[in-house]
Symmetry: C2
Subunit: 554 residues, 2 copies
């Protein structure tokens, strides 16, 4: 599973000795090691799935009960399953009964002062005090997405006091892709560091694809249930109803989805605010709900039934990801009245979810010019009482399709520095097509570096240690260590080897960029060595004295 021979997976516990929290340990050639946050999980056979890490904890709390669950229907897998008269590639691994309780959210426990195993696990992962975890979850400033029906997941936390997280979107569309491809994209995404994965399938076999993904996922899985609900009504937004939606949500709660995007803030009165935009409504869920509202001349049923949704979510501990259906789809539309009106409603819904002890994060844009980025997170944090912000980029310009992982990484690093807790990746294929395996990796690496840049800028404890370890290796010409410490060791090493493939180039004191005579690092080290007879302090003193004597004041 690991991406480099110098990487191993090590397991750590807190003082109880009961946990097994994974880290990626990087062995360096100078005998040191460097431990990194690890999302890749223990690895699984796709047809078997992962072991249920959290089952004993969930059982141990004694507040959930298995039950028969909703009967599967052909329509769960879309219209083609109905045409065929059967589902395809059904899940062949263990099938557990779904379970639920009265109120089993991490927020409910945290507010009751109870420290769960999930919180302890998260504290070890983050290297922080468990009380910080509990208190931030209790206050709603952080969430631990952890459906009781996804016991395979390794707990993780999303909140501004913790490491910035990234999400990778996968999922098929009506045009392309298969179940096997999507499971492979899942594994690929988490191997490279995705902290959560959203299954945004809109094509065939939606239910079955999701089952394969959840059973193999060590990271929380998010969905946008309106996509599946729309498939159940033949793709006609007008035909959607609370009943179809509710049924779909229960179906997904029972499967183990950890968080769901709910576009409950797209209110009827906000839709006209988009009429004069350059790009109207660009959120799929947002446009579906806007279409429904207008067709029925009624308020968004996700808004009017919001409390019922909360009552469902609290039984499974599903977290809200309050969707920004009216997010700007171009820099021209950023921070406009439509967007900010919806945000006010999302703030209201955040408070309502918290009344039910349901965990909440709030989604954000989109496309935003760089000078307007900070305002987005400031308003969201103010209005939504510190609930975690989860943004899609934002893209800082619209002119570079094919490079929107980069246009958006600029906005993403900036918005995360100002307090966004999770970043939804954008791949090079954004606006152009469905990302393939390589695009998923590029998107993940790009967002990991943006998230880390934000951690460093925030002064997050220990964040810069990684930069320092790599820079030290670079300065000391430990090429192998530089590769091993890279976010993507494979690419770093292959780029180096393109011009200097020989084994001894891995210990050479230069690369092909400047050649041996011009390597500043080598010259700089020579300068140090030449004058460093008695160690650094002595040398430094010498230099100052020398400089003082020789320097001619201008």
């Amino acid at each position: 599973m690991t991406v480099h021979p110098a990487h191993t997976r090590v397991l750590t516990s807190d003082e109880t000795g009961e946990l097994a929290v994974p880290f990626t340990r990087v062995a360096l050639t100078n005998g040191e090691t460097f431990d990194r946050y690890c999302t890749e999980g223990p690895g699984s056979d796709p047809e078997v799935g992962l072991p249920p890490l959290r089952s004993a904890w969930i059982d141990g709390r004694g507040d959930t009960t298995p039950y028969d669950g909703r009967a599967p229907q052909l329509v769960d897998n879309g219209r083609s399953a109905i045409r065929r008269g059967e589902a395809r590639d059904e899940w062949r691994g263990e099938k557990r009964q779904p379970r639920r309780g009265a109120n089993v959210t991490q927020m409910a426990y945290a507010r009751a002062g109870k420290v769960t195993e999930e919180m302890r696990y998260v504290a070890v992962r983050e290297g922080c005090d468990v009380e910080l975890v509990r208190s931030e979850v209790a206050a709603g400033r952080a969430i631990i997405p952890a459906n009781v029906n996804h016991p395979e997941s390794e707990p993780m936390i999303i909140g501004r006091r913790f490491l910035v997280k990234i999400n990778a979107n996968i999922g098929n569309s009506a045009v392309t892709s298969s179940i096997a491809e999507e499971v492979d994209k899942l594994t690929h995404a988490i191997t490279w560091g995705a902290d959560t994965v959203m299954d945004l399938s809109t094509g065939e076999d939606i239910h079955t694809t999701r089952e394969w993904i959840i059973r193999n996922s060590p990271v929380p899985i998010g969905t946008v249930p309106i996509y599946q609900a729309l498939e159940k009504v033949n793709g006609e937004a007008d035909q959607l109803s609370w009943e179809v939606f509710r049924d779909t949500v229960v179906e997904q709660c029972e499967q183990g989805v950890d968080y769901m995007t709910i576009h409950a803030g797209v209110l009827l009165r906000y839709v006209p605010l988009t009429a004069n935009r350059v790009t109207g409504i660009v959120s799929r869920g947002g446009s579906i709900m806007a279409g429904w509202c207008l067709a029925h001349h009624e308020e968004n049923f996700l808004y009017t039934h919001f409390d019922e949704l909360c009552e469902i979510f609290r039984q499974y501990d599903v977290s809200f990801s309050l969707g920004d259906g009216l997010r700007p789809g171009s820099t021209a539309d950023a921070n406009d009245e439509a967007q900010l009106s919806e945000l006010r409603t999302l703030a209201e819904l955040t408070a309502r979810a918290w009344e039910h002890d349901v965990q909440v994060m709030v989604e954000g844009p989109g496309h935003v010019p760089l000078h307007l980025v900070e305002e987005n997170v400031r308003l969201q944090q103010d209005w939504c009482h510190g609930a975690p912000f989860y943004t899609l980029g934002p893209l800082a310009t619209d002119i570079a399709p094919g490079y929107d992982h980069i246009t958006s990484a600029i906005g993403a690093a900036t918005i995360a520095m100002h307090g966004t807790a999770m970043l939804c990746y954008v791949t090079p294929k954004e606006h152009l097509g469905l990302p393939n395996r390589d695009d998923v990796k590029t998107g993940v690496i790009t967002y990991k570096l943006a998230a880390h840049a934000a951690d460093v800028a925030k002064g997050h404890p220990g964040a810069r240690d990684w930069d320092d370890a790599l820079s030290k290796a670079r300065f000391e010409f430990r090429w192998r260590d530089q590769f091993a410490l890279s976010l993507d060791p494979v690419t770093a090493e292959s780029f180096h080897d393109e011009t200097l493939p020989a084994e001894n180039a891995k210990t050479a004191h230069f690369c092909s960029m400047c050649g041996p005579k011009f390597c500043s690092m080598r010259i700089s080290q020579d300068v140090r060595d030449r004058f460093a007879t008695d160690g650094m302090a002595q040398k430094s003193a010498e230099f100052v004295e020398l400089g003082g004597t020789v320097y001619v004041e201008a």
Copy 2:
């Protein structure tokens, strides 16, 4: 030369009708056109070179004289030429006598209230008043790099009141690359939008490679003359002298180099300040000069002979790019005493150059965590009296070799938004090897999008028009226009065609990302169409009324 069939090159003048300033015109399928800044020049046969656009202007001023110039020497092409006993691949196009004058800088003219053709050309390119150009150049807040011996160049301006520019580094190293490859990289870089190009060759045939590059370059060419000087003394930094350096500078002035990086701020007393850094000195020029200072126990000869350099530069109108030899090479070393001490000296040298009417820009880092980026440009602008800032990125984190075009684009967009005038690109090969042709393109496109994001964030007049044109095309499913308006139409179209290669997909109202049923843009347009019987205003009023009736207050 153009990269897309919908692109043509159009020539525009000011009211005199005497100029021919190129723009890239994009023809859209709806009959509209969009004009973009064009750097690619008229195109040349590499063996012939470009026509001398500015010769008549330079002649017309009557203040320069042709002269015999310095006699070429074998050592100008490095040690291998000496071994061979002859130069290789010598320039076969027209050889003009070098010319020089007493004080022929654009700054001298601007200060004397004279508006040159170069200033008028620049004003048309930037779409601004020519008086803005003249006054900014006179004040030193902008430069027009334009050596009288590079008449092939199309004038361009670098300053915070103008469009943010980008530089592409090319040049061979001792390990790899040929003259033909470097000329090809030049053409490739400017085709994709590089505003200036630096020839950083450190390998063989330095003089000849540069001749081919300058004769074929419509953009200003920069160099770091200390690299060639070092080659002339067998790569031994100790053996460098003012005399060897001076001779090299004159050689390059006569060839037509437009700006030169001069590491005159690396003072002896600053060197010890780098001793405890994580990555010491990472600038090649900086480490060479630090090595020389320490070996000789003398002050940097570039500093002590700075006024003589100014006297040379003013005769040709070569601009200073004051090198930041002590720039941080890791986030750990950012904004430290070594860096800021050198910056104070660069400020002093800026003022000294201006006494000679010599144009100046100041180089900046490097590696800087995102929260420290703004301080860099703020201090530089304050201390250096508004002289243009020219930064290398900066990289916002050290952990992603192989992706440093992205780690640095984050810092670059941010620093440019705060007032940096030109960005030196970083390619994916940074820290790993010499960039090839594809890396050059990736670096250029990445920096063009970062520069444009900054222009938009600065509210630069007209900058967002490009975003709006593309977003409008996107929302109206004018796929061909979306490609044609893209910074890189080739990549955008090929990504789209990967999943939807059919011709009719170019007019389809969806892409493979979501498929036809789920395209939010299509749904959003349907929503508009359905309710837009009497145009937008009427519809908007209807919606508000409707919303007002139906909305249930929470």
